[in-house]
């Protein structure tokens, strides 16, 4: 805009705009011109306002340039792909506390437009051997640092963000399901039919961080509730757990917060003192989800559980 000031014909331009404003005052086009004319006045008067940007910088703006900002799909795409600067999200799941309340699952499903059989997070009953009792294991996406799903995606529809989560752009997805085949944690699902309440969500702008509206013929997955992280809130599953199973936080700060008690603890201490592990470490996918061992198991031994066909 500085350059515009120095234009030699600014006088005539201003006159032109004023004239245009008067002439067109009755019509819609005139109103538009008036608006621009007014804006121009403000710029000229040099009235400025101070604003705080999202990355904590104070900037000055000419008053007339400001208008309330409505996020467009395009912008949601860009920020959704970039992630939140300086963060490194991790999750800790304390298996000793899980009682299979399944509140995490329902909260997640209602936030992400999923049917009851569609899981971003699924609590499994794990039967490691014949002599050890079963335990409950909530299984979200592991948000691997070496994600096989991202490697195999032919169109960059699924991607790894700077702050850790592996997200899904369902506008880009072609539905080849190579990522489903590649995921060793079975963390990905597909919309075989129209998503739940597809008609209701039809006209909503697509939010990449929420992956809503969901689309027929695309893959969807756990997002670490990236939309909640943007608002500085805990993920849906974490904050809805009644049993204090989940800790979530920023690895860079070395702090994780329990979703139930809201107590914040040091991540490194939590992992160290509780013999934390990651699922199928040997595959080398570098998961971002840590598990604390299931001591004091609530499950039963296989003999007591023979009728349950689900155990593999």
């Amino acid at each position: 805009m500085e350059e515009n000031y120095k234009e030699p014909n600014k006088k005539s331009r201003r006159d032109f705009l004023k004239t245009l404003g008067i002439v067109g005052a009755a019509g819609a086009s005139g109103a538009m011109a008036l608006y621009f004319g007014q804006q121009y006045e403000n710029i000229k008067s040099g009235k400025k306002v101070k604003l705080l940007t999202v990355d904590n910088k104070v900037v000055e703006f000419e008053d007339g340039k400001l208008k309330e900002y409505e996020r467009q799909t395009e912008e949601l795409f860009i920020r959704g792909r970039e992630g939140i600067a300086g963060k490194s999200w991790v999750m800790v799941i304390d298996l000793a506390k899980c009682q299979n309340a399944r509140k995490c699952i329902t909260a997640c499903q209602s936030a992400h437009q999923l049917r009851p059989e569609q899981y971003h997070i699924n609590t499994l009953t794990m039967q490691d051997s014949q002599d050890t009792p079963a335990y409950f294991m909530p299984k979200p996406c592991m948000h691997c640092d070496n994600p096989p799903c991202v490697s195999v995606c032919p169109v960059d529809a699924t991607f790894k963000r700077n702050d850790g989560p592996v997200l899904m752009d369902n506008d880009r997805c072609i539905g080849c399901r190579f990522c489903i085949a590649a995921c060793p944690y079975s963390a990905r699902i597909f919309h075989w039919f129209d998503p739940k309440n597809a008609v209701l969500f039809k006209d909503m702008p697509y939010d990449l961080e929420l992956n809503v509206p969901q689309k027929l013929g695309t893959v969807t997955k756990c997002l670490f509730s990236a939309d909640r992280l943007r608002k500085n809130e805990l993920p849906y599953c974490v904050s809805n757990c009644p049993n204090g199973v989940y800790y979530f936080g920023d690895k860079n700060e070395d702090a994780v917060t329990n979703g139930t008690t809201k107590e914040t603890v040091r991540l490194s201490t939590l992992l160290k003192e509780n013999a934390a592990y990651r699922l199928m470490e040997e595959l080398g996918q570098e998961p971002r989800v840590y598990y604390l061992p299931p001591k004091g198991r609530k499950g039963t031994l296989p003999e007591e559980n023979k009728n349950n066909e689900n155990h593999v």
Partner: protein
Amino acid sequence: MTENKIIQDLLQSVKLSKGFYAWMTFLTISLFVCLYAYYLQLTTGLGVTGLRDYISWGLYIANFVFFVASSLVGMLISSILGLSGQKWITPIVRIAEIIAVAFAAVAGLVIVSDMGRPEKLANVFLYGRFQSPILWDVTVVTTYVIISLLLFYTPLIPDLTIAYKNRTDLPKWQKGLYKILSLNWVGNLEQVQLQKKAIGILLVLVIPVAMAIHTVTSWLFAVTPRSGWSSTILGPYFVTGAFVTGVASVIIAMYIFQKIYSLKEYIYDIHFDKMGKLLVLVCLIYLYFNINEFLIPGYRMPKHEAAHLHSLFSGSHSIMFWFVQIVGLILPIILLIFKPFRKPFPITLIAIIVFIGAWFKRYLIVISPQEHPFLPIQNVPENFTYYVPTITEIAITIASFVLVLMIISVLSKVFPIIPIHETLTERNKQNEK
């Protein structure tokens, strides 16, 4: 046989007969019936298939693998046998090339039928990331279709001139087609040398590309961290398996063309005999890879692989598995060692069984490992835990076979199925000796 008789014999099939029209009408109607199934899939979603979140690749992908496999035979016959100086292949090279073109071209369409959103296909080209094996597959399959088409077309050029000159009774469009496609071939020394050089280059070029298409197709599975797929021998395992399918399909095609185009004097017992021996060879190599692929993990039985192997050896897939291994592979090897079984009729029957066995083999390779992921399948409807293809899915798969038959039928009917020019050249060479 005089030169004239050979030309007349080999050209008599090119006129579009009533029978041909009837056959094509039948194929077209079948295609449209099957395409209705695809319409259902497009409007409802892939939910019309038996696929669900855990077994998310099924019939389409298995069929894709099978088609890519079948197309490899073009390279085997034309290049490997051709470059090693096998003269007996002359009457069957074009059949092999037509099979290669048809299967490879339709394989590309089959993969589209598996896509959740085929309307977004352009994304592969707009946003393609070269680290995904799908991009490699798209690249090499396209290249292979083009080279195979050229390998079909380049040796055909002289035949088109011969056909143009010798068949005056053909409709205008067909003669016009021959004239344009023959590129003014008159058979002078310069043209002959140029053609020879071009074919030579293509024959060498097609070898790495053909190896690549099926190796890359195997990598679609081998790159995934899944027990049953993440095997280091999957590349050669697929390629050797492909030769089995391809040789079987050429034998079937040879028999059909010999019968309907009355080519008994050109394709006869010796060709079936040689193809029979070739089938034994490729089956033996494939059997060797099968033993490696199943015996070693079967001996160790690591936890996750065990579930998959048990389902093959003695579980839900065992009937299909043992049919494929014994009836589809071992039995043909034993039978074809004996000469009477290499006669046209018995060997064609055996080839059909090998062909069917090879198809089910692809089905097992694709589906079984998905039924046994590392983590248990729980809290989902029962139909998520196993895979049974639906009628819709089967119809769409049949459509792909119909398309292959249509391409083979048109190419073999519009153009002479046995290379005339090469047959004459071979004959002249023999006469000189």
